[in-house]
Structure formats: structure tokens, C-alpha cells
Amino acid sequence: MAASSGANETAIVISGLRKSFGATVALDGLDLTVNTGEVHGFLGPNGSGKSTTLRVLLGLLRKDGGEVRLLGGDPWRDAAQLHRRLAYVPGDVNLWPTLTGGEVIDLLSRLRGGSDEKKRAALLERFELDPRKKGRAYSKGNRQKVALIAALVSDVELLILDEPTSGLDPLMEGVFRECILGEAQQGRTVLLSSHLLSEVEALCDRVSIIRRGRTVESGTLAELRHLTRTSVRAELGASPVGLDRLPGVHDVLVEGSRVSCDVDTPHLGDLLRELTRLGVRDMTCQPPTLEELFRRHYADDRDAEGPRPAADGASRVAASR
């Protein structure tokens, strides 16, 4: 029922999006594609332009250039119609001081076209939220819950969430994850901006990473992992020589028979063959974490990490300078 209209079209297509605030360039040719039915992670360091992108998508900010399609429409021109088909949780949730949480949930879902009573009650229960408190009396986490529930009660095709779990405790974050997985199962599309790597790993089918208003990586988690290095430590039968001449192997450190190094994940097989030849007594293999990937992109231009491994399958959208 959720993804009824606009059957197979892509939920969000952004290409070459530009937006400046005076002299500040917030978005500088950003690309983003979110397929219908997927949970898409949207990552980037502070101030990289995530919230700005989402606000352009909602027709709150006017783009300076580029193309933006949302649910098959123009988010600036058709804002009100499109908004009935999506729900948004802003990054900074501020509630009206005189309205209770329950009233805010009802108000926002009604303005979107109605809500499901049973689902509302279930969500209040799961998030352990008291709907009778006034806006000012809620803690940051509870304000966040109000906004989340208001978005989740509506029967919409697309959820746009701007760091929705900032302020939630780990237990509530677990509840949030279950809810999002449930929504995804019903065929809803989710665009989730986040700083939490574990959250992105647990929820997202595909991920886009932006930096300074440009997309630097985009692909499935598996594809992105492929872009990173696995770190290997081994105790060998003999002291190794010439490991660093193998393709894709970096930072080799040899201490007697012990060795540690990093290897570009596509070349892991080559390294293992060589190590086996030398005789492995003990070995640990640290799988590539998203964190490593982020660190590479988040760490400014300082990252003189040598050439990146070629991208197999992952679309390299824009080369970072």
C-alpha cells in the first residue's frame, strides 16, 4: 500500500545540486539517487551539507542549480502535494511549548492526511513516551521521540530522517531500528542522515557519503567495503621478505616472524596465498569497518593515504581533491 503510486520510479534523484548561503557554498554539485523501497544512508562530516540537501528536497530551501526530482515531482513547485506522500523528521526538533507531545503527533499526522490509531498507540508504547507532557517539559531525547512517532504514524511512501537518533538512549535506538526495518519491509523508502556507523550498517541497503557539498562515494555497503583495506596480523613459520612488493599491500611491519600489514580488500587473496606459503601459525584478520571508510573521507584534505584501490562496482561519483 505504501509504495503504490509512482510504481517503479526512483524515489529521489538529485544531480549537480548547488546551494549557497551568501558566500558559504553549502552544496557544490551534489548527486544522490535513492531507489524506491530502499533504506539509504546519507553520511558526511558536520557542515558537509546533509541537512541542506534534505531541506532542498522538501522545498524549504530554493536550489541555486542542478536537478532535483522527488517522488516523480518537482519539490519546489509541487511541495504541498508531494509532502502528503512523505514524512520528515528535522535535525533540530523544537516543539511548541504549549502543545503536548500527543497533540503534536496528532497535528502533524493530520496535516499530512491522517494517522492510524492502533499504530499510534503501539508506537507510544514501544518508545515509552508520555504524550501528556507539554513541549517544554520534554527532554531532548523525548522531543526526538515525538517527532519520530509523528513521522512513523503516517502512512507514507517516503521517510526523510535527519539524524533521528541523536539524543536517543541505546535502548530506544534499538526500538528505532526495529521500526525502520519494519517500515522497509512494508516497501517504504527511507532516506536516513546519520553519524552513527553501526546504525547505518544495521539499516541501510545503500549509502552515500558527502563531503563539502559533494558526493564522494555511493554504493551498497558491500561495494563500499570493497574500497577499504583489511588489516592482517600473522605469526609465520619464517621471517617474510618482499611482502610490501605484493600488489595492494601497505604498511608492512615485520618483527622476527611476526608481521602486520594492511591490504586492499580485492587483493586479500594474493596476500593469503603468500602467507600460507610461508606457514601460518596464528593469524587475525580485521575486516574493513565502515569507520575506516568514513575516517578516510571525514579526515580533510590531510589524508595523504596514497592512491585508493580501484572501485569494483561501486560508483565513484566525484573524485575528492
Partner: protein, 533 residues
């Protein structure tokens, strides 16, 4: 940690934040006093002419109620600054209330105080800093005003006490606001509570001043406005009366500090009760939301208008009793009338209510801006609500609310005056149109606010400047003998002066058209801009 630590830093911060606004207001006040003094010097050259004018004014309860008595009929300052005494003190009070709440409760509400208190700022520092700057500004305002009056040619002694009077008004209402800001949880409620105290002070003073020998004249002495006015500049210069205000300031600020000591940051003393778990059916449209957010304010305004309408309606009947000398007529005419003393009085009062109603309209329309900056507009505009529809919801509260207020005041005045003349339907038929005819001019200022919101959202406060300019033109325009082109800038200049004058359709239609044009332009501009901007 020292509870006052960081006060100096906060003082500098407050001065920096208001480095333009506060000096501008101080100059405006000083200039207002000086220019009305300078304008009157030529009008009453002889002692006889002053005594005649002052006695006429003192004999008119409506004028005494509105502005207070002239304490020394022979003095030039007394008659020249009649409109500036209590009424000016009221305006100074508003300025200081807004300032103190802005630097205490508003800061706290936005979480900035929490940030600061976590640093090296002591518990009492924010309130101390706000009070120091407010009291300092009050003193400066008084000094600047005194200098202006001396420059305009008034006696030095009276000029200094006049400055003292305004400074004490600023001080007492700074202290009132300091207490209110601790009691309430929101800046809006804090300002509201302070303004209620201010309004009551004014009403008590009016009742005390008009009480006569047998009546409750002591009411003037329970009012901070009364304390300021009883210093009697140019009419005895009783500097010692200022001691009452000083004691009040000390007690009230002590009380405010005690409250700070007792409460948590972010909280008021009045604890909010839990509310409804589910929204009422009304709260499902943009207008439902706008109404819910603004109904409390409108209700408070309605109560004030009910009172105002009743007071004016009752006073109107006493205007006729008033000594019928030619000088008296002349004074009344100069104070702004056309024909028939009662009608002149009523049309003046309805004109003033029109300006006050414009203030209501501006603040209701500017709710749009405060919703936007508080990030409360974003979630609404991200639903199926279009921008014009969201704007229309708050504008409807502004325009229809203003209409309801004037209708209320007009009917109550008609009922009250009619009950005294014995012909309710006739008076109702005269008063209601006289009240409603002010609306198009008030709507024009709502339009100015809307235009600013669309075109220059950071400059919405300019709408208040437009209002003050209209007020000055209307109140002092004839006194300052401004040119007609300047007078025409105020929308209220074009309002038919009813009751008394005939209704004229053309200017009313023009005003409506201008208001509609401004609002439409504002909406068009708002559709094209970023939110938040």
C-alpha cells in the same frame, strides 16, 4: 563558585547585542519630549494662557484619566509635557520590560543560559547583568531627556526631575520584569505578565487622579506609574518621591534573586500541568494551530479592550459637564478634535485604540517569524500545508482578531455611553462604526509586517518602527505642525474622525487596497524565499 561570576562578561554581551537598538530608543524618547516641549513654547507665551489651558485640561476627567493632571498651571513645562508624563512613563516601562525579558527569560528559553551557566557564569549573573544594563539605560534615558528639555528652553530644575521621573519608571518596570521572568516559563508569558502589571498601574493611576477629594485618590499611590508622576516635574519637583521607586526596585530585585535561588534553570515557579494525550478535532488544520497558539494572547487583549471600551464610554458622558470656556474649547480642539467636545474626545480615543489595535495586528502577524526562527514552521511546511495556507492561518488571526477587538471596544463603549444618555441603540449605532472604521489603517500596518516577513525577514522589527512613527505623527503631528505630506504617511491620518465627522468611503477603500497589496506582495515574496531564512 561565586554566584555573580561572569556578570561583567554578560553585561558587555548585552550591551553589544543592543548597541544599536537601545541608543536609538533613548534618542527617540529624548527627542519626543524635547520636540513637544519646543513646539509648545510658542503656543503659550503668557502665564494667563497657560493657566487657562491647564485649568481646562484639569477640569476634563477624560484628559486627567488619560494623561494625568497639570500640577502647576502656571508652569510652561506642566502644560507642554502633559502628554509625556504618565503616558511617556508607560512607554519607557514597555521598553524596559521588553529589554529585561529579552535578556533573561528569552535567553533561558532558547537554552543559551544553560550553555553559559555550565561555563563560568554564576547563578545570579544573567539577571544581575540584565538589571544593570536596564537600570543604566534608564538613567541614561532620563539624563538624555533632561538635556533635551533644557535644550528646548524649559527650566533646568524641572527638566532634571522630568528625566528622573522617566528613569524611575524605567527602573521600576525593569524590576517588575525581572520578577515576572522568574515566575513564568516563557518569554511571551513573562512579557505578558509584566505588561498586565503595567496596564494595571496605569489604570490605578487614572482612577486615583480622577477620584476627586472624596474618592480613592490613594490609588495613584499604589501604582509605579503614579510614583513616577507624583515626582511632579515642573509642579513642585518633589525629588523625594523617587525614594519610593528606589525602595520598590530594591525589594523587587531582591525577590527576583530569591526566586532564582529557588528554581531550576529553564523552569518557572508556575509548574505546567500535564495536558491532553490527544489533540482536539480543531487542531488538525493550519488555522487550528494558529488559533491554538494565539488564542491566549487574543483573550488577554479582549479583556483589556473590554475595560478600555467601558472606561471611554463612561468618561465620554462627563466630557459634556466640563467648564465651558472658550479657552477650554480651544485646548480640546488643539488636543485633536473637530466638532462637539464629546465626539472629539471619542474620536481621539478610538483613534488611539486603532493604533493599539495595529500593535496587536503586528505582533500576531509576526508570530509567523517567531515560528520560523524557533524552527516550528519547518515541520508544518514539510506536511501537506502550502506556504500561502500557512501564512494565511496566522494572518487570519491577526486581521480577524483586530476586527473582533475593535468591535468589542466599540460595542462596550456604545453600551456604556448609551446607558448614561439613555439611548443605547443610537449610541451603539454611532460607536460601533466609529471603532470599526479604524480597522483598515490597522490592517495596513499588518500588511507592512507581512511584507517585511516575505521580503526582509531579518528586518521584521521595522514594522514596529512604522507603528511608532504613525503614533508620533498622530499624537504630535498637529503640535509639531508637520507638513501634510508627512502626516499622510500615517495610515491613521486618512481615517474619518468618527463619531462626529461623516463616514468617507474613498479613503477607507484605499486603505483596504493598500493593506491587501502589501499582504499579497509579502506572500508572493515568501513563496520565493528560503525557510528558515
Amino acid at each position: 563558585m561565586n554566584a555573580f561570576a561572569g556578570t561583567g562578561t554578560l553585561v558587555r554581551l548585552a550591551i553589544r547585542r543592543d548597541r544599536i537598538l537601545m541608543p536609538v530608543w533613548i534618542v527617540v524618547f529624548a527627542a519626543l519630549a524635547a520636540s513637544s516641549a519646543a513646539a509648545t513654547v510658542g503656543v503659550y507665551p503668557t502665564v494667563q494662557s497657560r493657566v487657562a489651558a491647564a485649568e481646562a485640561a484639569n477640569a476634563a476627567p477624560s484628559i486627567v484619566a488619560l494623561y494625568g493632571p497639570v500640577f502647576d498651571p502656571t508652569s510652561l513645562g506642566g502644560i507642554a509635557l502633559l502628554k509625556m508624563n504618565a503616558f511617556g512613563a508607560l512607554l519607557v516601562g514597555i521598553l524596559m520590560i521588553v529589554f529585561v525579558v529579552r535578556h533573561t527569560r528569552a535567553e533561558e528559553e532558547q537554552g543559551r543560559l544553560e550553555l553559559m551557566s555550565a561555563g563560568v557564569v554564576g547563578r545570579f549573573a544573567p539577571l544581575t547583568a540584565a538589571l544593570l544594563v536596564a537600570l543604566g539605560s534608564s538613567v541614561l534615558l532620563g539624563a538624555a531627556t533632561a538635556a533635551g528639555l533644557i535644550g528646548a528652553g524649559l527650566p533646568v530644575g524641572g527638566s532634571l526631575t522630568f528625566g528622573l521621573m522617566w528613569a524611575t519608571a524605567g527602573g521600576t518596570f525593569s524590576a517588575v520584569a525581572a520578577v515576572a521572568a522568574q515566575l513564568t516559563e516563557s518569554a511571551r508569558a513573562g512579557t505578558g505578565l509584566s505588561l498586565v502589571v503595567l496596564g494595571l498601574s496605569y489604570v490605578f493611576r487614572a482612577m486615583g487622579d480622577t477620584a476627586g477629594d472624596a474618592g480613592p485618590a490613594w490609588l495613584s499611590w499604589v501604582s509605579p506609574i503614579g510614583w513616577a508622576q507624583q515626582i511632579r516635574p515642573f509642579g513642585g519637583d518633589r525629588v523625594w518621591v523617587a525614594a519610593i521607586s528606589v525602595v520598590f526596585v530594591l525589594l523587587a530585585t531582591g525577590f527576583a534573586f530569591a526566586l532564582v535561588q529557588r528554581r531550576d534553570i529553564g523552569a518557572g515557579l508556575v509548574r505546567p500541568r500535564p495536558g491532553r494525550a490527544q489533540a482536539s478535532p480543531l487542531l488538525g488544520t493550519p488555522f487550528g494551530l494558529a488559533w491554538r497558539l494565539q488564542r491566549g494572547t487574543l483573550l488577554a487583549w479582549s479583556a483589556a479592550y473590554l475595560l478600555l471600551g467601558a472606561v471611554f464610554g463612561n468618561l465620554a458622558s462627563s466630557v459634556g459637564d466640563f467648564v465651558d470656556t472658550s479657552q477650554a474649547r480651544e485646548v480640546i480642539t488643539r488636543l485633536g478634535g473637530v466638532k462637539g467636545l464629546t465626539d472629539a474626545f471619542l474620536s481621539t480615543e478610538f483613534g488611539m485604540m486603532g493604533v493599539i489595535t495595529a500593535a496587536y495586528g503586528i505582533q500576531a502577524a509576526l508570530r509567523l517569524r517567531s515560528e520560523e526562527t524557533a524552527l516550528c514552521a519547518e515541520p508544518v511546511l514539510a506536511t501537506g500545508v502550502s506556504r500561502p495556507r500557512w501564512v494565511a492561518s496566522h494572518l487570519l488571526v491577526a486581521l480577524a482578531g483586530a476586527t473582533a477587538l475593535m468591535a468589542l471596544a466599540g460595542s462596550v463603549a456604545g453600551l456604556a455611553y448609551g446607558a448614561q444618555t439613555g439611548d443605547v441603540p443610537a449610541e451603539l449605532g454611532r460607536m460601533l462604526p466609529a471603532a470599526l472604521v479604524q480597522l483598515p489603517a490597522a490592517w495596513v500596518l499588518t500588511g507592512v509586517a507581512m511584507l517585511l516577513f516575505g521580503v526582509a525577514p531579518r528586518w521584521v522589527a521595522v514594522a514596529w518602527v512604522a507603528l511608532v512613527a504613525s503614533l508620533v505623527i498622530g499624537e504630535l503631528g498637529s503640535l509639531l505642525s508637520l507638513r501634510q505630506t508627512v502626516l499622510n504617511l500615517s495610515p491613521f491620518t486618512h481615517v474619518p474622525r468618527m463619531p462626529g465627522a461623516d463616514f468617507a468611503l474613498a479613503p477607507v477603500l484605499w486603505l483596504v487596497a493598500v493593506a491587501a497589496g502589501l499582504i499579497s506582495l509579502g506572500i508572493v515574496a515568501f513563496r520565493r524565499r528560503d525557510v528558515p531564512a
